[in-house]
Subunit: 298 residues, 2 copies
């Protein structure tokens, strides 16, 4: 049976094309992986690469890219909008096919140990790979960012899972982990009052009483003068898209506001789309294998 | 670019395993095709085979299977519930990838000409390949079945598109054509009154004022004591599943009856499932390529 994981490392470089190319090339050149996507953002000064392959090949590619980033990125000179701890900031592994989340945890730990030992970079494990509850959440691990970590890393509670208890001169620290596929889901409201989107987001997200597995913010979509609820669905298996969508719809209706349109940003697992069809068409026993293309491809 | 069509020939044999095996084997043995499914029904005395491949390979496999069926099936001895004209009753070609419906029409015509010329079997073109409006609908072409056709084939209006204007001793005639993918969609109602399902089916199907591209019947689902609206969605691109589902829901509610569950029978194109998710989640610009598995496989 084919075993496939997805790896989506984030690097602290979104401006210098030659550095971006070198990192992407370290991944592309690794046998057994397939580079699907990379996108660099200059404001964030950050690069997000998506690739897939066997667990072993993906770990190898992630290691190679981390080594390249360590060589070419100097965190002492790095500035950008997006929070970060290091040159290779975060490396999540996501199960795609024939692989469990637990196996991705094993892959993450193996890679973390190797980055610590061979590159001398402090590594924190997060999400499903976390060794302490307070390290599950990425935002908690990244608190204070690179600048604060320089002092705090010597404290026991910030001691990394692998590598030295001090920061090297330029690389910062790297966060490695495993998580279910994340779906970025935006819901546009028929209002220009961002306050309404903020209140709806508060009702939907787990941190303020809503759904576990949902992160949400109310923001302004300036180019269309619409308020938007922007969601991160971090476990579509337990908390599916349609449930968040319906709750946003109901909460917005409370203010006389309708949903005018939605958007899935980037990639979405087939399973998440099938779940929506199953729910709304009330399908009783619909199997993934009933999709013609799945029969052709799997 | 890869070019793939689906071919779903129906043969008038659902009881003799050795004949079923011989037909399936003619298809499986053709290079460039992949046999996905075959299902034989003894009551219908009918075999439905599903396979995919390049247009050229699928035409070759369909020809080989038609020759096998002509050799092994005697229509003079055939009895079964399902309407039929010949040993190989109907051969539809369906575009799957990198192929248009018009190209499937070309494939159907090429195959029809060859069956007529090389096997001496009368061939009628139907659906998108039809040469006359009254031959578009399969039920119209099959009217009176094999038994009536023996006399009627000499009439000008029943003259075949290819092959002789008389029936050979045992094979009957074959119907060849091209159509968009068909989705078999059943909607179960929370009532045991089949009359309600019949009325709802009448409202939904094109033949009595409902949606073009939808065929529908009200039937009884005996094992669950539920009435069912059973639909054939013959063009999900123009008439999507969610539109039929919503109309059934509204029409059934008129009688105080709810939809208790639905079922997609057999295979469904990915596009039909994506359309449902797009509709209900109000997705504005969702692309097929955003499905992770599509990126992996296509």
């Amino acid at each position: 049976v084919e075993r496939i994981v997805e790896c989506i490392p984030n690097f602290s470089e979104g401006r210098r094309p030659e550095v971006i190319a070198a990192i992407a090339e370290s991944i592309r050149a690794t046998p057994g992986v397939r580079l699907l996507d990379f996108s660099a953002n200059a404001d964030h000064n950050r690069l997000v690469v998506t690739f897939v392959g066997t667990p072993e090949a993906c770990a190898e590619a992630a290691f190679a890219a981390t080594a390249t980033a360590a060589r070419l990125i100097d965190m002492e000179r790095h500035q950008g909008e997006h929070p970060r701890l290091g040159a290779t900031d975060v490396i999540p592994f996501v199960p795609v096919k024939g692989v469990t989340l637990d196996e991705c945890v094993t892959v993450a730990k193996g890679l973390g140990a190797r980055i610590g030992a061979e590159l001398g970079i402090p590594v924190y494990l997060y999400e499903a790979a976390a060794t302490r509850p307070e390290r599950r959440n990425l935002a908690d691990v990244r608190r204070g960012q690179y600048e604060a970590l320089k002092d705090e890393i010597t404290r026991p509670e910030r001691c990394p899972d692998y590598g030295p208890c001090r920061l090297p001169p330029t690389t910062g620290a790297t966060i490695v982990g495993a998580r279910p596929p994340l779906v970025a889901f935006n819901i546009n409201l028929g209002t220009s009052e961002v306050e309404i989107a903020k209140r709806v987001a508060k009702a939907v997200r787990g941190s303020s009483g809503g759904f576990v597995n949902v992160k949400a913010l109310g923001v302004m979509l300036k180019e269309r003068n619409l308020a938007q609820v922007t969601l991160n669905m971090v476990n579509y298996l337990d908390t599916p898209l349609h449930r968040a969508y319906e709750l946003v719809r109901v909460e917005a209706a409370r203010y006389g506001v309708a949903v005018v349109g939605c958007e899935i940003v980037g990639l979405v697992p087939l399973g998440a789309v099938l779940d929506a069809a199953r729910h709304y068409l009330q399908l009783e026993e619909f199997q993934r294998e009933q999709v013609l293309e799945v029969r052709l491809w799997e």
